[in-house]
Symmetry: C2
Subunit: 435 residues, 2 copies
């Protein structure tokens, strides 16, 4: 590798701090492929952050010239930290005899599971900025790592995701149609807690809208969506225009058989093939390790699970619980279109499902009895025009065998058509022993 200048932040707040830093510089000088050009003066900084009470840090910055790739330099730094008596893996926010961080590497970037260069927070740390300035680094003009990145071409998001994977990250994907609400935020937070990098996609997919459906009118708000993604800790937002997803000669389709039949598939004939196609395309482009979908769209989830399994994507499809308004209405981007009266009436779906769930928890095992109970609740609300109410096997949503049931998922779809514009709402609930 060609030699580049690298700036390394040094810190110590345990033991003989000055001796630790000086010894670290000496050990760095001994590494083949590393030349220490200059070292800033060392300065005191009070410990800030969570963790046990602890002493002040002594900090400085070393300027290196090195031919080592950044991950190799990181490995050497960890070995030097270990020599200094630091326990590895180091507990967060505990005192440490030596802390070495790669801060900047000329224009080079690296974005991996245990190394991000430029260091994401270097410019917020006076004990890094001041020594850099002392060494003559243009700290205002120096590169920074921005999050979330906004990407609008398949090639760019593919390159980003594949670099993350190559650098050891577990990548999570949260496909959405934008107009994000707390339900989406909960998917992102679950992804954030399980993955090293999170990609949210925002794309209103024309393939999954029927000719008489609301593609053009579907709510869109990229600015608000970006703020929600930033707050949820998303690393990249992929928001392509339609032409970047489907060129004029696009003619491929992914179809899923049995899982796409009945219920939504009966009401919206091409819907699930549109969903399976766009999700397959997003999977092919971004190659995530895990992908997050809400249980709210339970049949969509079953279709995506089947497609993922059948086409062999090595991706874990993670179902995420429905997020509800305080009165029980499942969150949906289309809820904004409910008039006040329909909004009040819409809780009937949750109440109907809950009544079946309570009956199941009390011991009712007869399918027709459970369905009749929910149907009676729904019938009490004349604004709710029922499309279907079904009780299916949990997971793949296949029909349940005859006889008493051991569990399952009840799914409902109803239209509310007396408001400003007609709105169709879905909801579902698992029937389990303990709710």
């Amino acid at each position: 590798m060609r030699p580049r200048t690298v700036h390394l932040a040094l810190g110590s707040n345990e033991g003989d701090r000055r001796a630790s830093l000086e010894r670290a510089v000496q050990r760095l000088s001994a590494v083949p492929g590393v030349e220490v050009l200059r070292v800033s003066s060392f300065r005191e900084s009070a410990f800030v952050g969570a963790g046990p009470a602890q002493g002040a840090y002594l900090n400085g910055v070393a300027e290196l010239r090195t031919t080592l790739p950044l991950p190799a330099l990181l490995a050497v730094c960890k070995a030097i930290e270990a020599e200094a008596g630091r326990r590895l893996p180091a507990p967060k926010n505990h005192p440490r005899p030596l802390d070495l961080d790669i801060v900047l590497a000329e224009g080079e970037t690296f974005d991996g599971v245990d190394l991000v260069v430029p260091h994401p927070r270097w410019h917020l740390r006076p004990f890094v900025v001041e020594p850099l300035r002392e060494l003559g680094v243009d700290v205002e003009g120096a590169p920074r790592t921005e999050r979330p990145l906004l990407v609008d071409t398949p090639g760019a998001i593919a390159a980003l995701a594949s670099a993350w994977t190559a650098n050891g990250c577990v990548v999570g994907l949260v496909p959405t149609m934008g107009s994000l609400h707390e339900g989406h935020a909960s998917l992102m937070r679950i992804a954030r807690s399980e993955c090293d990098r999170v990609i949210a996609t925002i794309f209103v997919n024309p393939l999954q809208f029927g000719p008489r459906e609301d593609f053009a009118a579907y709510p869109r708000d990229l600015g608000g969506d970006m703020r929600l993604c930033a707050a949820a800790g998303v690393d990249a937002v992929f928001a392509p225009p339609v032409a970047a997803m489907y060129d004029e000669r696009f003619c491929s389709r992914v179809a899923v058989g049995a899982a796409a039949e009945g219920m939504e598939g009966a009401v919206r004939p091409e819907h699930f093939s549109g969903v399976a196609t766009v999700v397959a395309r997003l999977f092919a482009i971004t190659r995530p390790h895990r992908a997050y979908f809400g249980e709210k769209d339970a049949q969509q989830l079953a279709v995506i699970r089947r497609m993922t399994h059948d086409l062999g994507f090595p991706i874990r499809v993670v179902p995420c619980p429905i997020v509800r308004e305080p009165d029980g209405l499942a969150m949906s981007s289309r809820n904004v279109y409910l008039g006040a009266d329909d909004r009040r009436a819409s809780t009937i779906l949750f109440r109907a499902l809950s009544s079946a769930q309570h009956a199941f928890a009390r011991g009712e095992r007869d399918r027709d009895g459970l369905l009749a109970r929910a149907r009676a609740v729904l019938a009490s609300e004349p604004r709710a025009l029922l499309d279907y109410l079904e009780l299916r096997r949990e997971g793949d949503l296949e029909p349940l065998p005859p006889g008493p049931i051991a569990g399952g998922r009840m799914l409902v779809a109803a239209r509310f058509e007396r408001g400003v514009r007609p709105v169709r709402l879905l909801d579902n609930m698992a029937l389990v022993e303990e709710s």
Copy 2:
């Protein structure tokens, strides 16, 4: 990382060889995270291999204890080689003042673009084996790197391919139905020349055979196929049973519109959807960078290009020229079923296409004239029962606009039915200015 024992081969055949090796050991000792436990005696070995005439090597093996990940250790070794005056990147088979190779790392394996551990040829090199034995290593029981690997589950090939990609390799995929011949070998050699790792898949895909076609009778010969793959330098062969590719509830299909219509699509209605589905599945599982397909099946190639583009797989589809028998017959696994008379008659396809190509090269630009010329040649062979003869646009094989043509591809399919069993043959040829 936990400390492991690593064996490093040292060699020098330029300058003060002993001083180089001793200096290398000293430099290794200075590296944080590396402890040199023992060093074998150094021994002479004559230079073997291509390259300029050069002096004998002095060789030995060092036994290290290290916490560095293997790629970091490799980077440090390269830096030590550079300090010793070695030009990097080093020209192959030239004299070198210092050569450091990671040979063994306890049970650890690594398979990357510039590092394979265990070293693929360590056991064939007496100047490595003898010093290892001197250090007490059980050289017969020590691990080796085998190629090609034979893998029969999607999970195993996905893990292998993704480790290669993570380690910086460009991965090439050569999907086949087995019964391999020189045409397949040429795909593999092209892949070998362009990629760091080559996966060949051998799978007779039931989805692409019609109910009256020869799925059960399609020729199969895994032993012969493995030998051909080994000779062509394939790194892994993925040969799954049908149940590992399609479970009993498999119900997804990938369909490609216009590209799959007409020609083979007209004769074999579900064929291209079966092809697109299995190739999408192989792409999803193995995630290669490049995939190699023969131009012999030109419409299949167009379908796969379209599917790859539409679903967004970041995979370069590489078309490979038709390989022909000396008399011009395009190689095909089904050629073995041709009786002697049909075999002789089968060259009519090549002769018909060649006559059109010669006419084009001589200036003929009229579509009907070119087709009539080829059709006349075909008509001279009564054993050839023509299914279709078409002239299409090069690449996507769409119909050509009216008027004189600037080029294109002529495609033919014919049946030969007088032999032991009926055989259907395809061939095609680009019409170009200079043949």
